[in-house]
């Protein structure tokens, strides 16, 4: 059985996957149903390689990160003790890769927006390639929850306007209380009763 190799290139990134067709599943000779290895070359970074598990971990971290980045949500993706994680690093992105071999230090790559876009496009091509018969486990692209959108706005910016409005309202109330004169207090003692002229009646005459 011949090994099949497919290559996906995008400017600064090159992803190469190698594998064999799963003949028991009736796949054609040009298909990859069993992934034997993959290599990722990013300009200015050492070549990365691994097994299917590593590639799945890369896909599961990078794709949701890119999706959230589009909505302005910047947070870490990938398990703490997993093979791959990606997190924002100031204006760039920090891709961390951990080897399954013991004693190997994690590798950290700093990617700018352009390099991350290249990587995302390579992964997009791989997952959309009909010849590669693999299933990828990462969440489907969906609209974010309201709370996630709200959380991207800093607390100071979120609470600032209502706080300012509250302070302004309180200041207005106090100013109004000082400026508008209160009505004079009424005396407790009741005024003397006015003399009432008795109407003359016939009996008085």
């Amino acid at each position: 059985m011949l090994k099949t190799t497919y290559q996906y290139e995008q400017t600064a990134a090159r992803l190469v996957v190698e594998g064999f067709p799963d003949l028991s599943a009736g796949q054609s000779n040009e298909a990859i149903g069993i992934l034997s290895s993959w290599r990722l070359q990013l300009i200015g970074a050492p070549e990365l390689e691994g097994t299917r598990d590593h590639l799945e971990a890369l896909m599961a971290a990078v794709m949701p990160y890119a999706r959230h980045r589009l909505s302005g949500v910047q947070r870490r993706f990938g398990l703490e003790d997993g093979f791959v994680s990606i997190a924002p690093d100031q204006a760039n992105h920090r891709l961390e890769l951990r080897s399954s071999r013991e004693g190997v230090e994690p590798l950290q790559l700093k990617l700018d927006d352009a390099e991350l876009a290249d990587l995302v496009r390579c992964l997009d091509r791989l997952r959309l390639d009909n010849r590669v018969k693999l299933t990828w486990t990462f969440p489907e692209d969906r609209p974010l929850k309201h709370q996630e959108i709200v959380d991207r706005i800093p607390l100071q910016k979120r609470l600032g306007p209502p706080l300012l409005a509250g302070v302004a309202l309180a200041a207005c109330t106090i100013a109004t209380a000082w400026l508008v004169p209160l009505p004079q207090g009424t005396k407790e003692t009741s005024p003397a009763p006015a003399p009432v002229d008795k109407p003359e009646t016939q009996s008085d005459r």
Binding site: T11, A12, I43, G44, M63, A66, R67, R69, L70, S71, G72, N92, D112, D113, A114, E115, L116, A117, D118, V120, R121, L123, D124, R125, R127, L128, N130, T135, W136, T137, F138, P139, E140, D141, R142, P143, L144, K145, H146, I149, V150, R152, I153
Partner: protein, 182 residues
């Protein structure tokens, strides 16, 4: 699990919110700022994608884009979901076509002075287009006009196009346009 989306043919579509339509039209405006012949290129690309039923000419495309409430000439009715899906596919295809330019703007490996000049040029073109097409009495439009070159809003627009370029970006762009308004 994620399945491969259809590369170009619009599906049943997505009903975009007012904010979603604003963002979609702004992305199309960004494409026009990057490509001087962007209007014609959009019609040509839509025909290549088999979307001539939706956008047979520039006028029909312009009519769909007028659903953006920030425009000088705006339409009150909602954007049809099929038209919205077609516009999303069009943005992704145009971003794919312009990807080398997007890459140049976002890359930190390019010469700094050249990058600044590119951002400045993009900034001027986008500002001119916004002044020409958008209603300057809207607060959101004033905010767009006061953007700094290579500022966060500019970078957000360009990186959005870079991350949604090509057929793989359609689902991502649709999802982000359907985000709830904060």
């Amino acid at each position: 699990m994620t399945e491969a989306p259809a590369p170009s043919a619009p599906t049943d579509g997505a009903r975009l919110s007012r904010r979603g339509v604003e963002r979609l039209d702004l992305l199309l405006l960004t494409i026009e700022a990057l490509d001087l012949n962007g209007g014609e290129a959009m019609v040509w690309t839509s025909q290549q994608m088999g979307l001539q039923a939706q956008f047979p000419n520039r006028v029909e495309l312009w009519k769909r884009r007028c659903h953006n409430p920030l425009r000088r000439t705006t339409r009150r009715d909602q954007l049809d979901p099929v038209d919205a899906e077609s516009l999303i596919c069009l943005v992704c295809a145009m971003a794919d076509r312009l990807y080398p330019m997007l890459h140049q703007l976002l890359s930190s490996r390019e010469p700094e002075q050249l990058t600044q000049q590119r951002w400045q040029l993009f900034h001027e073109r986008l500002r001119d287009l916004i002044e020409e097409r958008m209603n300057p009495r809207r607060e959101a439009v004033v905010r767009l006009l006061t953007m700094e070159p290579a500022g966060p809003l500019h970078r957000q627009l360009i990186s959005t196009l870079a991350f949604c370029a090509g057929p793989g970006g359609i689902d991502r762009l649709r999802a982000t346009l359907l985000d709830p308004t904060p």
